[in-house]
């Protein structure tokens, strides 16, 4: 048989080999992606508390989430706020810091390390630190603001200031963007700048007409991945809200999420709130699917066949 179809058997062997190399991920994909995703879809049409059998209830959970669940629209609005404002600030600041680091000629290594380090701080630790730093009464930031005569906001205790406080925390951890912008900026061909300088282009014109077009794919990449991160934003707003509210952490604690006044509530927190505090798994699955639809829409933007940001290497 192998003698009769050497080519076919060779092809089959190579297919088997490919499958063998891919097998850890093939199993992982089925068990940790396809199966739970289909289950989430199924549960979203059922009343399910984890003990009694799931009971089909049609679109009840869906209509409850969109019309009656008091936390859904606030969480949606906060998530959109974070997507728009936090991501814009982070990309702009990351680009600024990236530009700055390419201009610094003395002590570059030290500056780069200092700018990068906060990115590594564990999110819960960084959030705790910022709740302390931005403590309205006794925190160092307001102490300094007060000393120079600036207004002292309530930060994490004021519904109008809690998201800007989270944004400050996100800007502190901008080191990852600094690194990718720095790499992209160093890749811009030098000749283009030299030619522009000969033509008498000023710094702004050079940035506008050479730097920006050259790095625009990286800016897009930073925006899209930032949007996806913003939609998964979980530990920071949750911990900030709980600590600022003085909730004692630990097991089974019931608390009104999103302190103050739902302002730090995000979509992922609702999945936890509905599923693991109210044991309403069916409704939690609806919110999970909303989150899934949003993330995949942005992922599609990242992977479009033409003009997509992540090629398949063909």
């Amino acid at each position: 048989m192998t003698g009769a179809h050497p080519l076919r058997s060779k092809r089959r062997r190579s297919a088997l080999r490919t499958a063998a190399f891919l097998s850890p991920w093939l199993i992982g994909f089925a068990v940790f992606f396809v199966y739970p995703l289909l289950s989430t879809l199924y549960f979203s049409f059922t009343r399910y508390d984890g003990f009694r059998q799931p009971a089909f209830n049609g679109l009840d959970n869906w209509s409850y989430v969109f019309t009656d669940y008091p936390l859904f629209w606030p969480a949606m609005r906060n998530t959109l706020w974070l997507v728009l404002v936090m991501v814009t600030c982070r990309v702009a600041f990351g680009l600024g810091i990236g530009l700055l680091i390419t201009k610094i000629k003395t002590g570059t290594g030290i500056f780069r390390t200092l700018f990068y380090l906060p990115y590594l701080a564990p999110p819960v630790a960084a959030t705790l630190a910022f709740v302390f730093l931005l403590n309205p009464g006794t925190g160092p930031v307001n102490t300094l603001l007060d000393a120079v005569g600036l207004p002292t906001p309530g930060w994490f205790t004021d519904a109008d200031w809690s998201k800007p406080a989270l944004t400050a925390l996100a800007l502190w951890g901008v080191g990852d963007l600094m690194v990718i912008f720095m790499a992209a900026l160093l890749d811009v061909p030098k000749e283009q700048y030299e030619a522009a300088e000969l033509d008498g282009a000023g710094a702004w014109a050079r940035f506008r007409h050479i730097t920006l077009p050259n790095i625009s794919p990286i800016i897009m990449f930073a925006v899209v991945t930032g949007v996806i991160q913003a939609m998964q934003y979980y530990a920071q707003p949750l911990v900030a809200g709980k600590v600022a509210a003085g909730v004692i952490g630990g097991s089974g604690q019931q608390f009104e999420p999103g302190y103050p006044d739902k302002s730090t509530l995000t979509l992922p927190q609702l999945v936890y709130n509905l599923g693991f505090q109210r044991f309403d798994y069916g409704t939690a699955c609806v919110v999970a699917l909303v989150l899934f639809a949003l993330s995949m829409a942005f992922t599609a933007l990242l992977m479009r066949r033409r003009g997509g940001l992540i090629g398949a290497g063909e």
Binding site: F21, L100, F111, T113, V124, A125, I228, I248, G250
Partner: protein, 284 residues
């Protein structure tokens, strides 16, 4: 004349240097001051930590010992090391062959496989958490343990696969062809030729995975919250603040202790980090 001209030019260069570096120092203050205030507060006495003082009256180094000996703190360390260490090892072992196949094999469905890896990478963990929790807790009765966090890492991690693939694409095919001509099978080519060249990429993946587990809050909250003996540092730290809610000095000392290993590790592996971050973004 020409001297005056170069003089003007060099004075402009000096101004530029001063401007850029003052901006750099201002930015550095923004990134460093939080760490400084954190450290100073962690060394204050209990009373002073509640005031607006920025500088400690007395240096209470004992705060660190107090935190270290808080019941549970050592258990959280052990759990975190286990989760991060074992998880990282499993991730690397299971992700390398997948990344190699995606980068270097030609097969039908290759593009689709890569798109699915990326889709998985972008999936918020909350989307699938309910069936996964029910699976681990109700079917296998393993809630309150670290297993639901560690075992999935033996089946390839999407982000690690993607990052490794990006790295392996940069290794020229000629090296692999040479090995194959010499009679190496794919497994031997991978182990003998590719792995030694892929060390920086593997280091980056291992570091990211380690920190991902070190920093994870959601996973331990879902699976370990009802059993303090299975808490990790990230999860324990938040409840530490809850239990000592007036003691900012102790909380900040605990925060420093949780941040420290990450920062120490960074100084040993700066290059791998920066390389990893660059790979995810630039060489797409």
């Amino acid at each position: 004349m020409s001297g005056a001209r170069t003089g003007r030019k060099s004075s402009r260069a000096v101004l530029h240097w001063v401007g850029v570096h003052s901006l750099g120092v201002a930015a550095a203050l923004f990134f460093v001051l939080p760490f400084v205030f954190l450290l100073l507060t962690s060394l204050m006495g209990d009373r002073q930590a509640l005031t607006r003082d920025l500088w400690p009256d007395t240096w209470e180094w004992g705060n660190y010992a107090k935190v270290w000996h808080t019941p549970g703190f050592l258990t959280w360390w052990r759990n975190t090391l286990l989760y991060a260490g074992l998880g990282t090892l499993l991730t690397v072992v299971s992700s390398v062959p997948v990344a190699y196949a995606l980068a270097k094999f030609r097969f039908r469905g290759r593009r689709l496989a890569l798109l699915l890896v990326i889709a998985m990478m972008m999936l918020p963990p909350q989307v699938v958490v309910i069936p996964m929790y029910l699976f681990w807790a109700k079917q296998l009765d393993l809630s309150g343990t670290l297993w639901p966090l560690i075992v999935p890492m033996a089946f390839g991690d999407a982000f690690s696969i993607f990052l490794l693939r990006q790295f392996l694409l940069t290794i020229p095919d000629e090296y692999l062809d040479a090995a194959r001509v010499d009679g190496c099978g794919e497994v031997r080519t991978l182990l003998r030729v590719v792995l030694p060249m892929a060390k920086p990429g593997i280091a980056a993946v291992a570091l990211f995975q380690f920190f991902c587990a070190w920093n994870d809050y959601f996973g331990p909250q879902i699976y370990a919250s009802d059993n303090p003996a299975a808490w990790t540092l990230s999860y324990g730290l938040e409840s530490f603040k809850g239990a000592h809610h007036t003691n900012w000095n102790l909380t900040m000392a605990a925060t420093v202790l949780v941040m420290a290993p990450v920062i120490v590790l960074f100084f040993f592996a700066q290059k791998a980090f920066v390389e990893g971050v660059t790979l995810t973004g630039v060489k797409g």
